[in-house]
Symmetry: C2
Subunit: 200 residues, 2 copies
DNA sequence: CGAAAAATGGACCAGCAAGTCCAATCCGAT
DNA sequence: ATCGGATTGGACTTGCTGGTCCATTTTTCG
Protein backbone atom coordinates (compact mmCIF):
# COMPACT_ATOMS: atom_id res chain seq x y z
CA UNK A 1 0.00 0.00 0.00
CA UNK A 2 2.97 2.32 0.58
CA UNK A 3 3.53 4.54 -2.42
CA UNK A 4 3.29 1.76 -4.98
CA UNK A 5 0.33 3.06 -6.92
CA UNK A 6 0.40 3.54 -10.66
CA UNK A 7 -1.94 5.94 -12.41
CA UNK A 8 -4.17 3.06 -13.39
CA UNK A 9 -4.21 1.80 -9.84
CA UNK A 10 -5.14 5.16 -8.44
CA UNK A 11 -7.94 5.46 -10.97
CA UNK A 12 -9.33 2.09 -9.99
CA UNK A 13 -9.12 2.91 -6.32
CA UNK A 14 -10.97 6.15 -6.88
CA UNK A 15 -13.59 4.41 -8.95
CA UNK A 16 -14.18 1.97 -6.12
CA UNK A 17 -14.52 4.68 -3.50
CA UNK A 18 -16.87 6.79 -5.55
CA UNK A 19 -18.88 3.77 -6.61
CA UNK A 20 -19.14 2.67 -3.01
CA UNK A 21 -20.40 6.11 -2.06
CA UNK A 22 -23.12 5.82 -4.69
CA UNK A 23 -24.14 2.39 -3.55
CA UNK A 24 -24.32 3.54 0.05
CA UNK A 25 -26.48 6.46 -0.94
CA UNK A 26 -28.82 4.22 -2.92
CA UNK A 27 -29.14 1.12 -0.83
CA UNK A 28 -28.26 2.46 2.58
CA UNK A 29 -25.30 1.38 4.64
CA UNK A 30 -27.11 -1.44 6.38
CA UNK A 31 -27.90 -3.39 3.24
CA UNK A 32 -25.03 -2.42 0.97
CA UNK A 33 -22.69 -5.28 0.18
CA UNK A 34 -19.27 -5.45 -1.34
CA UNK A 35 -20.71 -7.26 -4.33
CA UNK A 36 -23.00 -4.30 -4.93
CA UNK A 37 -19.94 -2.09 -5.09
CA UNK A 38 -18.16 -4.48 -7.41
CA UNK A 39 -20.98 -4.78 -9.89
CA UNK A 40 -21.54 -1.03 -9.83
CA UNK A 41 -17.91 -0.23 -10.52
CA UNK A 42 -17.17 -3.17 -12.76
CA UNK A 43 -14.29 -4.34 -10.60
CA UNK A 44 -13.41 -7.66 -9.04
CA UNK A 45 -13.07 -8.70 -5.48
CA UNK A 46 -9.34 -9.05 -5.72
CA UNK A 47 -9.11 -5.44 -6.76
CA UNK A 48 -11.15 -4.23 -3.87
CA UNK A 49 -9.07 -6.15 -1.36
CA UNK A 50 -5.91 -5.14 -3.16
CA UNK A 51 -6.60 -1.47 -2.54
CA UNK A 52 -8.34 -1.93 0.80
CA UNK A 53 -6.49 -4.76 2.51
CA UNK A 54 -8.30 -4.18 5.77
CA UNK A 55 -11.59 -4.87 4.06
CA UNK A 56 -14.97 -3.29 4.28
CA UNK A 57 -14.28 -1.05 7.25
CA UNK A 58 -11.40 0.59 5.48
CA UNK A 59 -13.54 1.21 2.43
CA UNK A 60 -16.34 2.66 4.51
CA UNK A 61 -13.87 4.93 6.21
CA UNK A 62 -12.64 6.21 2.87
CA UNK A 63 -16.21 6.90 1.80
CA UNK A 64 -16.90 8.63 5.10
CA UNK A 65 -13.97 10.94 4.49
CA UNK A 66 -15.27 11.68 1.02
CA UNK A 67 -18.71 12.53 2.33
CA UNK A 68 -17.33 14.63 5.14
CA UNK A 69 -15.35 16.74 2.71
CA UNK A 70 -18.46 17.13 0.61
CA UNK A 71 -20.48 18.52 3.49
CA UNK A 72 -18.39 21.65 3.78
CA UNK A 73 -17.74 21.91 0.05
CA UNK A 74 -21.47 22.04 -0.59
CA UNK A 75 -21.77 25.11 1.61
CA UNK A 76 -19.15 27.04 -0.25
CA UNK A 77 -18.57 29.72 -1.23
CA UNK A 78 -21.14 31.05 1.23
CA UNK A 79 -19.66 29.47 4.34
CA UNK A 80 -16.30 31.08 3.62
CA UNK A 81 -17.41 34.68 3.58
CA UNK A 82 -20.05 35.25 6.21
CA UNK A 83 -19.34 38.96 6.43
CA UNK A 84 -22.74 40.53 5.94
CA UNK A 85 -26.32 39.75 6.89
CA UNK A 86 -26.98 39.09 3.26
CA UNK A 87 -24.17 36.53 3.16
CA UNK A 88 -25.58 34.78 6.22
CA UNK A 89 -28.95 34.65 4.55
CA UNK A 90 -27.53 33.13 1.38
CA UNK A 91 -25.66 30.55 3.41
CA UNK A 92 -28.83 29.69 5.30
CA UNK A 93 -30.64 29.08 2.04
CA UNK A 94 -27.81 26.96 0.73
CA UNK A 95 -27.87 24.75 3.81
CA UNK A 96 -31.63 24.28 3.68
CA UNK A 97 -31.53 23.51 -0.01
CA UNK A 98 -28.68 21.06 0.30
CA UNK A 99 -30.35 18.99 2.96
CA UNK A 100 -33.78 19.15 1.43
CA UNK A 101 -32.31 17.75 -1.75
CA UNK A 102 -30.39 15.10 0.07
CA UNK A 103 -33.67 13.49 0.96
CA UNK A 104 -33.96 10.95 3.68
CA UNK A 105 -30.53 9.44 3.83
CA UNK A 106 -27.58 10.45 5.92
CA UNK A 107 -24.36 9.13 4.39
CA UNK A 108 -22.19 10.16 7.28
CA UNK A 109 -24.45 9.44 10.19
CA UNK A 110 -25.27 5.96 9.06
CA UNK A 111 -21.67 5.07 8.46
CA UNK A 112 -20.66 5.47 12.05
CA UNK A 113 -23.32 3.15 13.23
CA UNK A 114 -21.80 0.50 11.01
CA UNK A 115 -18.15 1.13 11.66
CA UNK A 116 -18.54 1.95 15.29
CA UNK A 117 -18.10 5.37 16.70
CA UNK A 118 -15.03 4.58 18.72
CA UNK A 119 -12.96 3.31 15.83
CA UNK A 120 -9.82 5.42 15.80
CA UNK A 121 -10.39 6.74 12.30
CA UNK A 122 -14.16 7.15 12.40
CA UNK A 123 -14.38 9.46 15.33
CA UNK A 124 -11.51 11.54 14.01
CA UNK A 125 -13.33 12.22 10.76
CA UNK A 126 -16.53 13.47 12.32
CA UNK A 127 -14.78 15.42 15.05
CA UNK A 128 -12.62 17.17 12.49
CA UNK A 129 -15.65 17.96 10.32
CA UNK A 130 -17.51 19.49 13.23
CA UNK A 131 -14.44 21.44 14.28
CA UNK A 132 -13.95 22.95 10.86
CA UNK A 133 -17.64 23.69 10.48
CA UNK A 134 -17.83 25.47 13.79
CA UNK A 135 -14.63 27.34 13.06
CA UNK A 136 -16.09 28.69 9.84
CA UNK A 137 -19.15 29.88 11.73
CA UNK A 138 -17.06 31.47 14.47
CA UNK A 139 -14.92 33.22 11.90
CA UNK A 140 -18.03 34.62 10.27
CA UNK A 141 -19.42 35.83 13.56
CA UNK A 142 -16.13 37.51 14.45
CA UNK A 143 -16.05 39.26 11.09
CA UNK A 144 -19.53 40.59 11.78
CA UNK A 145 -18.43 41.63 15.23
CA UNK A 146 -15.47 43.57 13.90
CA UNK A 147 -17.72 45.29 11.40
CA UNK A 148 -19.96 46.30 14.29
CA UNK A 149 -22.94 44.26 13.11
CA UNK A 150 -22.83 41.92 16.07
CA UNK A 151 -22.55 43.01 19.72
CA UNK A 152 -18.99 42.89 20.94
CA UNK A 153 -20.01 41.21 24.15
CA UNK A 154 -21.41 38.13 22.45
CA UNK A 155 -19.70 34.83 23.23
CA UNK A 156 -18.67 33.80 19.74
CA UNK A 157 -17.78 30.19 20.38
CA UNK A 158 -20.91 29.56 22.38
CA UNK A 159 -23.07 31.08 19.67
CA UNK A 160 -21.32 29.06 16.99
CA UNK A 161 -21.74 25.89 19.02
CA UNK A 162 -25.44 26.48 19.53
CA UNK A 163 -25.94 27.25 15.86
CA UNK A 164 -24.10 24.12 14.80
CA UNK A 165 -26.17 22.04 17.19
CA UNK A 166 -29.33 23.53 15.75
CA UNK A 167 -28.27 22.60 12.26
CA UNK A 168 -27.39 19.07 13.24
CA UNK A 169 -30.68 18.61 15.00
CA UNK A 170 -32.62 20.23 12.20
CA UNK A 171 -31.06 17.85 9.73
CA UNK A 172 -31.72 14.88 11.99
CA UNK A 173 -35.37 15.82 12.23
CA UNK A 174 -35.54 16.43 8.51
CA UNK A 175 -34.22 12.93 7.97
CA UNK A 176 -36.80 11.46 10.32
CA UNK A 177 -39.87 13.40 9.37
CA UNK A 178 -39.16 14.69 5.90
CA UNK A 179 -40.01 18.22 7.00
CA UNK A 180 -37.48 21.02 7.09
CA UNK A 181 -39.35 23.29 9.49
CA UNK A 182 -37.04 22.57 12.37
CA UNK A 183 -33.92 23.16 10.33
CA UNK A 184 -35.27 26.49 9.15
CA UNK A 185 -36.36 27.49 12.64
CA UNK A 186 -33.00 26.58 14.12
CA UNK A 187 -31.08 28.49 11.47
CA UNK A 188 -33.31 31.54 11.71
CA UNK A 189 -33.20 31.64 15.47
CA UNK A 190 -29.48 30.99 15.55
CA UNK A 191 -28.81 33.86 13.18
CA UNK A 192 -31.36 36.12 14.86
CA UNK A 193 -29.53 35.57 18.12
CA UNK A 194 -26.50 37.29 16.63
CA UNK A 195 -28.34 40.49 15.81
CA UNK A 196 -28.04 43.36 18.24
CA UNK A 197 -31.07 43.86 20.45
CA UNK A 198 -33.38 46.21 18.64
CA UNK A 199 -34.32 48.86 21.16
CA UNK A 200 -37.81 50.08 20.42
CA UNK B 1 -51.12 -13.07 18.13
CA UNK B 2 -54.65 -11.60 18.37
CA UNK B 3 -55.86 -11.68 21.95
CA UNK B 4 -54.58 -15.15 22.64
CA UNK B 5 -51.96 -14.28 25.20
CA UNK B 6 -51.91 -15.87 28.60
CA UNK B 7 -50.24 -14.23 31.55
CA UNK B 8 -47.23 -16.46 31.07
CA UNK B 9 -47.07 -15.59 27.40
CA UNK B 10 -47.22 -11.90 28.07
CA UNK B 11 -44.46 -12.22 30.63
CA UNK B 12 -42.24 -14.03 28.16
CA UNK B 13 -42.92 -11.49 25.46
CA UNK B 14 -42.01 -8.67 27.82
CA UNK B 15 -38.89 -10.46 28.91
CA UNK B 16 -37.81 -10.75 25.29
CA UNK B 17 -38.43 -7.11 24.52
CA UNK B 18 -36.62 -5.84 27.59
CA UNK B 19 -33.79 -8.29 27.10
CA UNK B 20 -33.46 -7.20 23.50
CA UNK B 21 -33.29 -3.59 24.62
CA UNK B 22 -30.43 -4.47 26.96
CA UNK B 23 -28.56 -6.36 24.29
CA UNK B 24 -28.95 -3.48 21.86
CA UNK B 25 -27.62 -1.07 24.44
CA UNK B 26 -24.63 -3.27 25.17
CA UNK B 27 -23.59 -4.57 21.80
CA UNK B 28 -25.06 -1.92 19.56
CA UNK B 29 -27.70 -2.52 16.98
CA UNK B 30 -25.31 -3.40 14.20
CA UNK B 31 -23.77 -6.40 15.90
CA UNK B 32 -26.65 -7.61 18.05
CA UNK B 33 -28.05 -10.96 17.01
CA UNK B 34 -31.19 -12.83 17.88
CA UNK B 35 -29.09 -15.46 19.60
CA UNK B 36 -27.71 -12.78 21.87
CA UNK B 37 -31.24 -11.92 22.87
CA UNK B 38 -32.13 -15.55 23.41
CA UNK B 39 -29.19 -16.33 25.64
CA UNK B 40 -29.71 -13.14 27.58
CA UNK B 41 -33.36 -13.84 28.24
CA UNK B 42 -33.12 -17.61 28.51
CA UNK B 43 -35.65 -18.17 25.78
CA UNK B 44 -35.63 -20.25 22.64
CA UNK B 45 -35.93 -19.32 19.04
CA UNK B 46 -39.38 -20.74 18.70
CA UNK B 47 -40.57 -18.44 21.46
CA UNK B 48 -39.13 -15.40 19.83
CA UNK B 49 -40.73 -16.18 16.51
CA UNK B 50 -43.91 -17.18 18.26
CA UNK B 51 -44.34 -13.72 19.72
CA UNK B 52 -42.75 -11.85 16.84
CA UNK B 53 -43.86 -13.71 13.73
CA UNK B 54 -42.48 -11.02 11.44
CA UNK B 55 -39.04 -11.60 12.84
CA UNK B 56 -36.27 -9.30 13.81
CA UNK B 57 -37.73 -6.11 12.40
CA UNK B 58 -40.84 -6.51 14.47
CA UNK B 59 -38.77 -7.03 17.59
CA UNK B 60 -36.62 -4.01 16.86
CA UNK B 61 -39.74 -1.96 16.38
CA UNK B 62 -41.05 -3.02 19.76
CA UNK B 63 -37.76 -2.06 21.35
CA UNK B 64 -37.81 1.26 19.54
CA UNK B 65 -41.23 2.00 20.99
CA UNK B 66 -39.92 1.13 24.43
CA UNK B 67 -36.96 3.44 24.08
CA UNK B 68 -39.07 6.24 22.65
CA UNK B 69 -41.37 6.12 25.65
CA UNK B 70 -38.33 6.20 27.90
CA UNK B 71 -37.01 9.38 26.35
CA UNK B 72 -39.89 11.49 27.57
CA UNK B 73 -40.31 9.57 30.81
CA UNK B 74 -36.72 10.38 31.74
CA UNK B 75 -37.45 14.08 31.48
CA UNK B 76 -40.35 13.94 33.86
CA UNK B 77 -41.57 15.43 36.04
CA UNK B 78 -39.67 18.50 34.83
CA UNK B 79 -40.91 18.43 31.25
CA UNK B 80 -44.50 18.40 32.43
CA UNK B 81 -44.44 21.60 34.46
CA UNK B 82 -42.29 24.17 32.71
CA UNK B 83 -44.03 27.07 34.41
CA UNK B 84 -41.17 29.04 35.91
CA UNK B 85 -37.60 29.90 34.98
CA UNK B 86 -36.48 27.66 37.77
CA UNK B 87 -38.44 24.76 36.30
CA UNK B 88 -36.85 25.33 32.91
CA UNK B 89 -33.47 25.32 34.54
CA UNK B 90 -34.14 22.03 36.30
CA UNK B 91 -35.39 20.49 33.10
CA UNK B 92 -32.28 21.66 31.31
CA UNK B 93 -30.10 19.99 33.90
CA UNK B 94 -32.13 16.79 33.67
CA UNK B 95 -31.67 16.63 29.91
CA UNK B 96 -27.94 17.24 30.08
CA UNK B 97 -27.51 14.68 32.81
CA UNK B 98 -29.59 12.06 31.05
CA UNK B 99 -27.64 12.24 27.84
CA UNK B 100 -24.28 12.52 29.52
CA UNK B 101 -25.03 9.33 31.38
CA UNK B 102 -26.27 7.59 28.28
CA UNK B 103 -22.75 7.69 26.97
CA UNK B 104 -21.98 7.14 23.36
CA UNK B 105 -24.85 5.01 22.22
CA UNK B 106 -28.13 6.10 20.74
CA UNK B 107 -30.72 3.34 21.08
CA UNK B 108 -33.30 5.07 18.97
CA UNK B 109 -31.15 6.65 16.33
CA UNK B 110 -29.29 3.48 15.55
CA UNK B 111 -32.44 1.47 15.30
CA UNK B 112 -33.81 3.39 12.37
CA UNK B 113 -30.66 2.89 10.39
CA UNK B 114 -31.20 -0.82 10.77
CA UNK B 115 -34.93 -0.98 10.21
CA UNK B 116 -35.04 1.68 7.57
CA UNK B 117 -36.56 5.04 8.12
CA UNK B 118 -39.42 4.58 5.69
CA UNK B 119 -40.81 1.48 7.32
CA UNK B 120 -44.42 2.32 8.13
CA UNK B 121 -43.99 1.72 11.84
CA UNK B 122 -40.52 3.13 12.33
CA UNK B 123 -41.22 6.59 11.06
CA UNK B 124 -44.44 6.76 13.02
CA UNK B 125 -42.64 6.11 16.28
CA UNK B 126 -40.06 8.83 15.88
CA UNK B 127 -42.51 11.34 14.45
CA UNK B 128 -44.83 10.80 17.35
CA UNK B 129 -41.99 11.14 19.84
CA UNK B 130 -40.88 14.43 18.32
CA UNK B 131 -44.44 15.68 18.19
CA UNK B 132 -45.06 14.98 21.85
CA UNK B 133 -41.72 16.41 22.87
CA UNK B 134 -42.29 19.63 20.99
CA UNK B 135 -45.83 19.85 22.33
CA UNK B 136 -44.55 19.68 25.89
CA UNK B 137 -42.09 22.46 25.15
CA UNK B 138 -44.75 24.59 23.49
CA UNK B 139 -47.09 24.07 26.41
CA UNK B 140 -44.37 25.22 28.77
CA UNK B 141 -43.65 28.30 26.72
CA UNK B 142 -47.32 29.19 26.56
CA UNK B 143 -47.62 28.83 30.32
CA UNK B 144 -44.70 31.22 30.71
CA UNK B 145 -46.32 33.56 28.24
CA UNK B 146 -49.58 33.62 30.14
CA UNK B 147 -47.71 34.31 33.34
CA UNK B 148 -46.09 37.25 31.59
CA UNK B 149 -42.57 35.83 31.76
CA UNK B 150 -42.25 35.46 28.02
CA UNK B 151 -43.10 38.16 25.49
CA UNK B 152 -46.60 37.72 24.11
CA UNK B 153 -45.42 38.30 20.56
CA UNK B 154 -43.06 35.33 20.53
CA UNK B 155 -43.86 32.60 17.99
CA UNK B 156 -44.28 29.68 20.34
CA UNK B 157 -44.18 26.84 17.84
CA UNK B 158 -41.17 28.24 16.07
CA UNK B 159 -39.30 28.67 19.35
CA UNK B 160 -40.19 25.15 20.43
CA UNK B 161 -39.08 23.78 17.08
CA UNK B 162 -35.75 25.54 17.28
CA UNK B 163 -35.18 24.40 20.83
CA UNK B 164 -36.00 20.82 19.94
CA UNK B 165 -33.63 20.96 16.99
CA UNK B 166 -30.91 22.30 19.25
CA UNK B 167 -31.37 19.43 21.66
CA UNK B 168 -31.32 16.83 18.91
CA UNK B 169 -28.17 18.30 17.44
CA UNK B 170 -26.55 18.67 20.81
CA UNK B 171 -27.17 15.03 21.55
CA UNK B 172 -25.91 14.00 18.13
CA UNK B 173 -22.69 15.90 18.71
CA UNK B 174 -22.40 14.49 22.20
CA UNK B 175 -22.64 11.03 20.73
CA UNK B 176 -19.96 11.78 18.16
CA UNK B 177 -17.48 13.71 20.23
CA UNK B 178 -18.22 12.75 23.81
CA UNK B 179 -18.50 16.39 24.78
CA UNK B 180 -21.71 18.02 25.96
CA UNK B 181 -20.73 21.63 25.25
CA UNK B 182 -22.97 21.87 22.25
CA UNK B 183 -25.97 20.43 24.02
CA UNK B 184 -25.50 22.88 26.88
CA UNK B 185 -25.03 25.81 24.53
CA UNK B 186 -28.10 24.91 22.52
CA UNK B 187 -30.26 24.54 25.61
CA UNK B 188 -28.99 27.75 27.17
CA UNK B 189 -29.43 29.76 24.02
CA UNK B 190 -32.81 28.24 23.32
CA UNK B 191 -34.06 29.14 26.78
CA UNK B 192 -32.38 32.53 26.74
CA UNK B 193 -34.24 33.28 23.52
CA UNK B 194 -37.49 33.04 25.44
CA UNK B 195 -36.58 35.70 27.95
CA UNK B 196 -37.83 39.20 27.35
CA UNK B 197 -35.23 41.58 25.98
CA UNK B 198 -33.50 43.12 28.93
CA UNK B 199 -33.53 46.83 28.30
CA UNK B 200 -30.48 48.34 29.93
C1' DC C 1 13.67 -6.86 -24.80
C1' DG C 2 12.80 -9.02 -20.40
C1' DA C 3 12.25 -9.43 -15.56
C1' DA C 4 9.89 -7.71 -11.61
C1' DA C 5 6.07 -5.52 -9.77
C1' DA C 6 1.42 -4.18 -10.08
C1' DA C 7 -3.20 -5.07 -11.47
C1' DT C 8 -6.96 -8.13 -12.47
C1' DG C 9 -10.41 -12.14 -12.82
C1' DG C 10 -13.16 -14.99 -10.58
C1' DA C 11 -13.77 -19.36 -8.30
C1' DC C 12 -13.86 -20.85 -3.72
C1' DC C 13 -14.28 -20.92 1.44
C1' DA C 14 -16.05 -20.30 6.11
C1' DG C 15 -19.01 -18.64 9.21
C1' DC C 16 -22.73 -16.58 10.82
C1' DA C 17 -27.30 -15.31 11.57
C1' DA C 18 -32.21 -15.28 10.31
C1' DG C 19 -35.78 -18.09 9.88
C1' DT C 20 -38.28 -23.01 9.74
C1' DC C 21 -40.15 -27.11 11.69
C1' DC C 22 -41.90 -30.56 14.48
C1' DA C 23 -42.17 -32.78 18.61
C1' DA C 24 -42.78 -32.17 23.52
C1' DT C 25 -44.92 -29.88 27.37
C1' DC C 26 -47.82 -26.80 30.01
C1' DC C 27 -52.19 -24.86 31.30
C1' DG C 28 -57.00 -23.42 31.45
C1' DA C 29 -61.63 -24.63 30.77
C1' DT C 30 -65.25 -28.02 30.54
C1' DA D 1 -59.43 -36.09 33.96
C1' DT D 2 -58.88 -34.54 29.40
C1' DC D 3 -59.02 -31.96 25.35
C1' DG D 4 -57.35 -28.17 22.69
C1' DG D 5 -54.74 -24.37 22.29
C1' DA D 6 -50.80 -21.91 24.02
C1' DT D 7 -46.04 -22.43 24.98
C1' DT D 8 -41.46 -24.20 24.66
C1' DG D 9 -37.03 -26.69 23.07
C1' DG D 10 -33.66 -26.94 19.93
C1' DA D 11 -31.90 -29.06 15.83
C1' DC D 12 -31.73 -27.97 11.04
C1' DT D 13 -31.85 -25.36 6.76
C1' DT D 14 -30.74 -21.73 3.82
C1' DG D 15 -28.85 -17.85 1.96
C1' DC D 16 -25.80 -14.45 2.01
C1' DT D 17 -21.50 -11.94 2.63
C1' DG D 18 -16.99 -10.85 3.89
C1' DG D 19 -12.76 -12.56 2.89
C1' DT D 20 -8.99 -15.81 0.68
C1' DC D 21 -6.24 -17.62 -3.09
C1' DC D 22 -3.93 -18.36 -7.15
C1' DA D 23 -3.49 -17.99 -12.00
C1' DT D 24 -3.26 -14.57 -15.60
C1' DT D 25 -2.57 -10.24 -17.78
C1' DT D 26 -0.74 -5.69 -17.91
C1' DT D 27 2.48 -2.16 -16.85
C1' DT D 28 6.87 -0.29 -15.46
C1' DC D 29 11.59 0.32 -15.93
C1' DG D 30 16.52 -0.89 -16.36
Amino acid sequence: MGGALTAKGRATRDRIVHGAAEVLRDRGVASATLDDVLSRTGTSKSQLFHYFPEGKDQLLLAVAQLEADQVLADQQPHLGCLDSWDAWSRWRDAVVERYEEQGDHCPLGSMFLQIGRDTPGARAIVVELLRQWQEHLATGIRAMQEAGHVPAGLDVDRAAAALLAGIQGGVTILLSTGRSDHLRAALDQGIAGLRPISVP
